[in-house]
Symmetry: C2
Subunit: 209 residues, 2 copies
Amino acid sequence: MTLPADPSSPARTGRANQKERTRSAILDATRELIKSGGAVNMPAVARAALVSDATAYRYFPDLLSLLREALAGILPSPVDALKPIAHVGDPVERIGYATRWLLRSVLGFEGAVRAMISASITDSQAAASRPGQRFALIDQALAPLNESFAKTDPKAFAQLKRDLAVVVSAEALFTLMDLCGLTPKAAVASAVHTAKTLTAAALKPAAEA
Amino acid sequence: MTLPADPSSPARTGRANQKERTRSAILDATRELIKSGGAVNMPAVARAALVSDATAYRYFPDLLSLLREALAGILPSPVDALKPIAHVGDPVERIGYATRWLLRSVLGFEGAVRAMISASITDSQAAASRPGQRFALIDQALAPLNESFAKTDPKAFAQLKRDLAVVVSAEALFTLMDLCGLTPKAAVASAVHTAKTLTAAALKPAAEA
DNA sequence: CTCCTTATGAGAGTGTTGTCTCACGACGAG
DNA sequence: CTCGTCGTGAGACAACACTCTCATAAGGAG
C-alpha cells in the first residue's frame, strides 16, 4: 500500500519503522474508507486500521489533518492531470479542461471532500491547510499567459486567478448541485462554462472600447 | 421582540399562545447569540432562552433549521436591499451592488453563516432548505433583463444565473478569505468584480464575432 | 536473554448533536 | 374547582471529536 517515504535514511533511529507502519496503516485505512464511500470518522478509521482511537489521534491531531493527507495522496497531481493538454496553448480551453478534471475527481471522493469542507469552514485558520489543488491547477492552466498577459497587466491576472479560485472549486460544485439542484454532470458543465467565460473575459476586455 | 405571526386567528385554540411564546423565546435567544458573535449551539441557545435542551429540539429538530429560521428573520429582504438602486437600469451595476450588499451582511453574521454551511454541506438534502437569499437577489438585480436578454436567449440567461449563484455567495466569500488569504474588504471587492465580469460577459458576447 | 525505552491500548472525561422516556405541573375545559 | 391534556424539564442514551492518564507490551540495545 503506502510505502515509507524513504525506508533507508530516517528509519535508522529507534522504532521509526514501527511508527512508519502505524502511520501508513491509518492513512491506508482512511483511503479505503474514502474510496468505499462510507462515513469517514476517527473511530471508523481506527477500527479499520486495527489501531486504537488514541493512537490515531497521536498521529493526526484531528480528523481534518487526516483527511487532508489522505486526500492529498489519492488525488493525482495537477501536473499529471494537465499532461493531455500540454500542447494546447489556449488558456480558455486549458481552464475548461482543468475545471472539468478537478470537479470530476472531487465527485469521486465527494463524501470525504464534503467532510473536509464542513470541518474547515468553521475555522478560517484550518482552511488554509487544505490541499491546494485548485491553485496549482489554475497556475498550470494559465501558464501560457506567464510571459504575456501576466506581465502586461499583473493586477488583472491576479484578479483572474481569484475569480477562478471561486469557481474551480468543490464549493462551487456543491453549490450548483445542492442549491441549484443540478445533476453532478450538469453542475460540472456549468462550472466549466463559468470558468471559461471568466478567462475569456479577462483576455478580451477590448469589447468595451 | 419577535411577534406572533398572527396573534388573532390561530391563537384561539388551546395553549397556542404558550407555544408561540416559547418558540419566539428560542428564536430571539438565537438571534441574540448570533448578533453577539458568540458560539451558537443548542445548549447555549436553550440556556439563553431559559428553556431546556429537549424543548429547543422539540421546536427545531436540529441546529440547522434553527439557524435557518433565525437568520432568515435577521437578514433584510433582498427587495429592500436593492431599493437604493431601483432607478439604475444597468444589470452590471445592479449585480455589483447586490453582491456587495449580500457579502457585507454575511460578514455581519459570519459565525452563524459558517455554522450553517458547515452543517448543511455534509447533507445535500439539508442544503436545499437554506435561506434562498442569493437567488432572490440575483433575480432582482437582473430584473431589467427580463424582457430583453432573458427572452432572446433564455439558455444563456439561465447560465448567467448559475454563474452568479456560485459567486454571489457566502461560500465564495469564505474561499477568498480563508484560502486566498484576502481581508474581508478585499474579498468582497474581488467577488463584486467577478460578478460584474460575468454579467458583462453574458451581455456582450459579440466580442468574438 | 535481560532491561528499558516507548509505542500502544484502554478507559475516563468533556463538549457537541441528537433521540427517547417519564414524571411534573400548568393551563384550559367542563 | 376539579379533571385531564399537553407543554415542559430532567435525565439516560448513543455517536462523534477530542484530551488525558496510566498500565501494558512490543521493540531495540546491551
